[in-house]
């Protein structure tokens, strides 16, 4: 950016001061791998204004059998299955490296019971390096059998359980595979969440072109990318009508225009997911495009 040209305005996101409104979607940018591939140049031109880590669970997970990817019309279906080193591995191996990033760190966690998630939240929250915690509620509660994030009461119970365990901002990452996402968002807010993020991927599937068996190792997967953009916009808009806490708008963002739409629909920050696969600097590009639109609007 040339001297004198005003940078993007700082954004207050549930207490975190971000240099701009563009962050990454959890699980779509591994900053540690990217450092190995691109070197420390990544730190000088980090594409996001906050970094959201891939979902971690209490115990390590291998993830799903390959194939894990299917290219769909204007999108991608993945069945990655949340591979991760587990809480201990994350704190030991990853946290020290992630601390080098020039932006606030948001740690994303997931568990199959209140107890698991509680332990993740309280442990992760005790680290100064962690600015906020995002809880991925797209998975079933082993106790109730219900997907935590698909049901308002389930979500409320979870948030109430973990709310007291940390002072850090709690972001609930909602699932779009629900009848009334806005009701879930409202329940999260009432139970004390500081923000919600949406959308996660939509349940989708592909069959093997030759055998007609499910292509993905995990059988079904999640659709992301441009194909889900208009669905994300509708969900963000509907949720924004119902809640007052900030929203992280996610889904198919490829351009400053796409980001602007989510902001206009009610999001406070926007996360870039699949587009980073096509272009690792998509976050910076989208941020610059957005800043250019805002400058033009102000003129």
């Amino acid at each position: 950016m040339s001297l004198g040209s005003p940078g993007p305005a700082a954004v207050d996101f549930c207490g975190l001061s971000l240099a701009g409104p563009i962050i990454n979607g959890s699980g779509t940018f591994d900053a540690i791998a990217a450092l190995r591939v691109f070197g420390d140049g990544l730190l000088e031109a980090f594409p996001f204004d906050a970094y959201v880590s891939k979902t971690i669970t209490l115990a390590p997970r291998q993830g799903n059998r390959p194939p894990r990817l299917w290219e769909a019309g204007a999108g991608l279906i993945n069945s990655i299955g949340l591979p991760n080193k587990g809480l201990e591995g994350y704190l030991r191996d990853d946290l020290p490296i992630l601390t080098r990033l020039p932006v606030p760190l948001i740690t994303n966690v997931m568990g199959h019971s209140h107890a698991e998630i509680g332990e993740l939240v309280s442990t992760v929250g005790s680290y100064d390096q962690v600015a906020a915690i995002e809880i991925n509620v797209s998975c079933p509660n082993v106790d109730s059998g219900l997907v935590m994030g698909a049901d308002p009461a389930e979500t409320a119970a979870l948030v109430s359980h973990v709310r007291g365990l940390t002072n850090k901002p709690l972001i609930i990452k909602l699932t779009p595979n629900a009848t009334d996402v806005a009701a879930v968002a409202l329940a999260a807010q009432e139970a004390g969440a500081d923000a919600v993020s949406l959308i996660n991927t939509l349940r989708a599937m592909a069959l093997h072109p030759k055998t007609s068996e499910p292509w993905l190792g995990g059988k079904t997967g999640g659709l992301s990318g441009p194909a889900v953009r208009s669905i994300a916009l509708a969900q963000v808009y509907e949720v924004a009508q119902r809640i007052s806490i900030p929203i992280v708008g996610i889904g198919g963002v490829q351009s400053g225009d796409d980001a602007l739409n989510l902001l206009k629909a009610g999001a406070t920050v926007v996360a870039v997911g699949t587009e980073s696969f096509r272009d690792p600097t998509a976050g910076s590009r989208i941020g610059a495009e957005l800043a250019a639109i805002s400058r033009k609007e102000r003129e």
Partner: protein, 270 residues
């Protein structure tokens, strides 16, 4: 020292300088002045500026991984060779100079020299010759290195000249040995087994090489393939099973010590 040549952050818009048919394959050269000299076995993510993210079934959408065939530090040239197997390679194959394309890399870990004096046996199946051609160039100092290449038939075997003095096998016997490249490998190992095998090719051929080397306790490096969405470790989509669990082929491969590989078949749809 890093285990790899680092990639500049982000993708680069480069110009296609040459595109021609080599038998059944397409050879494409572009000029990449802002990229470093890659290491044999490293790859690039490529996509065209037009015709990407659309088409009949709206594919291709994601960039595609390609090993480089040749890289020249002098004139910053980078060549790729590939087969038309789907929408991505089809669009790339229809580009004509001076088309622009997006390129990111070099990515991944290439072949490495063992610290012993074993001779190099380069074993390629079909389009798997690409990284081997690059590796042969880097091994120019090894007089006793041997290249063994297998093809379906004449049209594909046309590309064999991209390597120096290859022994050739074809499925239909139209060129060279009538049979599998692994049979050539057996003969070479029978002749002198003090060797390291560097292999690239389709899953079944790689698996055959892996088993053969395992049985004979020959060290081997396999350049593997899998579907990739990102190429830089972001998506966790490109994993292959190893004895230490799943490994992301784009950051911990594509060249892997055969001793770590459990099977070169899994994840393949063959």
């Amino acid at each position: 020292m890093s285990d790899r040549t680092l990639a500049p952050l982000g993708r680069r818009l480069v110009e296609l300088t040459q595109a021609k048919q080599v038998g059944a394959y397409r050879l494409m050269t572009c000029c990449d002045p802002d990229g470093p000299l890659p290491q044999a076995g490293q790859f690039y993510m490529l996509c065209a500026t037009d015709g990407w993210g659309g088409g009949e079934q709206e594919r291709p959408f994601l960039p595609r991984p390609y090993s480089y065939l040749r890289a020249s530090g002098e004139n910053s040239e980078l060549s790729f060779i590939f087969e038309d197997v789907g929408p991505g390679s089809h669009v790339l194959g229809s580009l004509q100079p001076p088309a622009k394309l997006w390129l990111m890399g070099p990515l991944g870990i290439g072949f490495w020299r063992p610290d012993d004096d074993r001779r190099a046996l380069l074993v390629g199946g079909g389009i798997g010759l690409a990284p081997l051609a690059a590796w042969q160039t880097e091994l120019a100092d090894q007089a006793n290195a041997v290249a063994l290449l297998g093809f379906r038939g004449t049209a594909h075997a046309d590309a064999a000249h991209l390597l120096r003095d290859p022994q050739i096998a074809t499925d239909d016997g139209s060129v060279g040995h009538h049979g599998l490249v692994t049979e050539l490998l057996e003969s070479e190992l029978d002749r002198d087994s003090h060797a390291t095998v560097y292999a690239c090719g389709p899953p079944r051929m790689l698996e055959a090489v892996r088993l053969l080397c395992e049985r004979r306790a020959i060290p081997a490096q396999l350049a593997m393939e899998s579907t990739m969405a990102c190429g830089f470790g972001a998506c966790f989509g490109c994993v292959v099973p190893t004895r230490d669990g799943y490994l992301r082929l784009c950051v911990d491969g594509p060249v892997i010590d055969a001793a770590r590989v459990q099977t070169a078949l899994e994840g393949s749809d063959q």
